[in-house]
Symmetry: C2
Subunit: 425 residues, 2 copies
């Protein structure tokens, strides 16, 4: 029986949740989900803080937001409903949580579950779908791709990556001009730390900033290659001697031959017992300074790289919207257990389409950089990588700015629908 708030909605209720690290364009996906659902007269409830919203029965009534606000959401970074880092385990281990979710869905007549995240989220959506089948509860579960790490299987790329990639390439281009100007008497080595614990996609994107061995970035360190400090020092020295300065991009996930993360090398406790936070860039910069004596600078953009909506890629934005729209359409078609993925049909001109892929092919897989994307010497990208990456950062899609010089980002009211179940503990 539909509740008062679903009056006029003849197609049921859809639950949408954001998962894991947010991106510059995940809200564009949310915006497209809500717009598409509205056009089909489907009510959208959003999880407050992602899947926790389903467990805690904290369901945001998106119908309270105006069409203008939902449109503006497409230009706002962050995760408008809140996201979370909660990985559900197997059905056996976490059965009470899965059952609780279904209970909440049933209590609010949720017939469609859209989970916007990475491979963990695809796995969760798949398991919810399996349990719904077991309970004979009609629920269509759809994964919606998102991650700046670009490490999802099957899809050609992941919404969020293109914008972070554009941020990375532009930032390296700009910082390199700064370093070049100062190198005669100041900084000779600059180290940029890119996100990517397991896959070097963002570090690779930095490679788009220049061409040839003398243009920055001169050296890229990928987690797909073993980090050899002595060899790295040699490379840095050779670049500084040849070019006058050296711009290094290091993936946070690089490891030495013994399998240790370089980022952890600077961590631990200092002599006062105080925590020292790790970091690849600061560690490499210090080591280069010690070993080669160059003046060094380094940057850790951290969250700036994945929230820089002001520098979003138009390609990325379009794809973020397209997967949101397709996810609702797949849900209404009953394509249970699928994810709308991006299929590249041509490099030049760049062409792509959206197609459904089984969640089982995506869940818990991780896509690393293919070997043919990394230069033979291990310190740069190949032409094949450029052909793949370049269309993804193409086009600009700036937000509009206010008179105060800041982008016009919206914040939602995020009004919860009344709970119908006892609190969950």
């Amino acid at each position: 029986m539909p509740s008062a708030s679903t009056k006029g909605s003849s197609r049921g209720t859809l639950f949408y949740a954001q998962s894991g690290g947010v991106t510059a364009v995940i809200n564009a996906t949310a915006s497209a989900v809500i717009q598409t659902a509205r056009s089909h007269r489907v009510r959208v409830l959003a999880g407050r803080n992602g899947i926790l919203g389903a467990l805690n029965e904290e369901l945001i009534d998106t119908s309270r937001e105006s069409a203008a606000t939902i449109a503006a959401l497409a230009h706002t970074p962050g995760g408008a409903f809140g996201s979370c880092r909660v990985k559900l385990k197997s059905l056996e281990a976490d059965r009470p949580k899965y059952e609780r979710m279904l209970e909440v869905f049933r209590a609010h007549d949720v017939r469609y579950f859209l989970y916007n995240g990475g491979n963990d989220s695809a796995d969760t959506a798949l398991k919810v779908s399996q349990l719904a089948t077991e309970f004979d509860y009609p629920l269509t579960c759809i994964g919606v791709p998102k991650t700046v790490d670009n490490d999802l299987a099957v899809t050609d790329t992941c919404p969020g990556f293109g914008s972070a990639a554009k941020y990375t390439a532009v930032s390296i281009r700009e910082a390199a001009l700064d370093v070049a100007a100062m190198a005669s008497t100041s900084t000779k080595v600059f180290v940029y730390e890119a996100m990517g614990r397991h896959a070097g996609w963002l570090a690779a994107a930095a490679g788009l900033a220049g061409r040839g061995p003398d243009q920055a970035p001169h050296l890229i360190l990928f987690p797909e290659r073993t980090f050899d400090e002595a060899a790295f020092f040699q490379q840095v020295k050779a670049v500084v001697e040849r070019v006058g300065y050296c711009v290094v991009v290091a993936s946070e996930g690089i490891q030495t031959a013994d399998g240790r993360f370089v980022a952890d090398a600077g961590g631990g406790k200092d002599s006062f017992g105080h925590t020292q936070l790790g970091g690849v860039a600061s560690h490499l910069a210090a080591r280069v300074k010690d070993a080669l004596g160059y003046k060094v600078h380094w940057t850790l953009p951290d969250y700036l790289q994945r929230s820089a909506r002001h520098l979003a890629s138009e390609t990325d934005l379009k794809q973020a919207k397209a997967v949101g729209k397709a996810a609702v359409e797949y849900a209404l078609k009953g394509l249970n257990g699928t994810m709308p993925v991006i299929v590249r049909t041509s490099d030049a001109p760049y062409r792509w389409k959206i197609a459904p892929a089984p969640l089982s092919d995506i869940a818990n897989h991780e896509k690393k950089m293919p070997a043919e994307f990394i230069r033979d010497d291990g310190y740069g990208i190949t032409d094949a990588a450029r052909r793949y990456l370049e269309p993804l950062i193409r086009g600009e899609a700036p937000p509009s700015y206010g008179r105060n010089g800041l982008p016009k980002y919206v914040e939602l009211a995020n009004v919860l629908v009344p709970a119908r179940l006892p609190p969950w503990t």
Copy 2:
């Protein structure tokens, strides 16, 4: 007697050099200098790597660059001719250097010296002027303001600051949306390290990102105020408990009561004898983690904040061009020993003009944040600060982008004119 390369130039030769850390818009000043000089038929030689170019007689012939390239320079960050960190000492201590400079100027018929930098550069320009008078060499010396630190005396603001300020405010706004979305299960405290060794202008600019105590940035740490760790922890805890997360902006120059830079606390050597590089943000993040147990993230934007031409402030760009144009006009008028400064004539509507100020009032002075710009509790900015800062980040002036998704930044040929003197050692 004019040289071959000055044929058709009836107004003599101008030497222009960039000094110290570069900015997103110092090349816009250079562009305006060259355009204005060309319109007056004055030849411009630029110092390769700043004042070193004058010492080493490495003079870049800017007439080799097309009008289109000089126009595009206004949209290119970094320092197109190279800059340097070389501070000349007193006339007594560094007399051979000053004399060499005059020799080089004389050899190339340089009658105007434009030095684009901060208070050190103003001092150098002043000293060169004094020596020229002593030697009876007709030379008009003009300082041209530039610094992201905004710490020059007399001028209302410094070209370069507004764009770095806009970068700071926008980055904080974006990152805060990210942190807000994740705080329920992930990062609760985020620390951003802003440039500013002695003055907290850039940290203050972050304050434009939000309004009121619950909007990010929640806490700003200024070098103008003594850093008290215990009080800071209390503030962080209170914000996290009230808001759910806490965004901190820390100026790199904050000091404890005993006068030590907090940034140096994390530095030194680790137990292996390896250098540990300092940093305010990483240190504060580690201390907060230890003391309060929150999950922390931090960012060190470093050069990104001063080279982000893609996010330049339109106000800043206009002022960077205006001081370049005025500097040439002052030179031609013989306003020796002056600097074109920005005079604010109205806050709302924001109005400004350019006027000459004596270099002697600017050289070696440093403008800190006035006390009335810092909130009584020491952790935020006042309305007076907002009235001052807000116009400076107003307006957007993006570069044009290529099909490859990157800004179209130019690189100059930087062809040197033939040397006329023996090498200098």
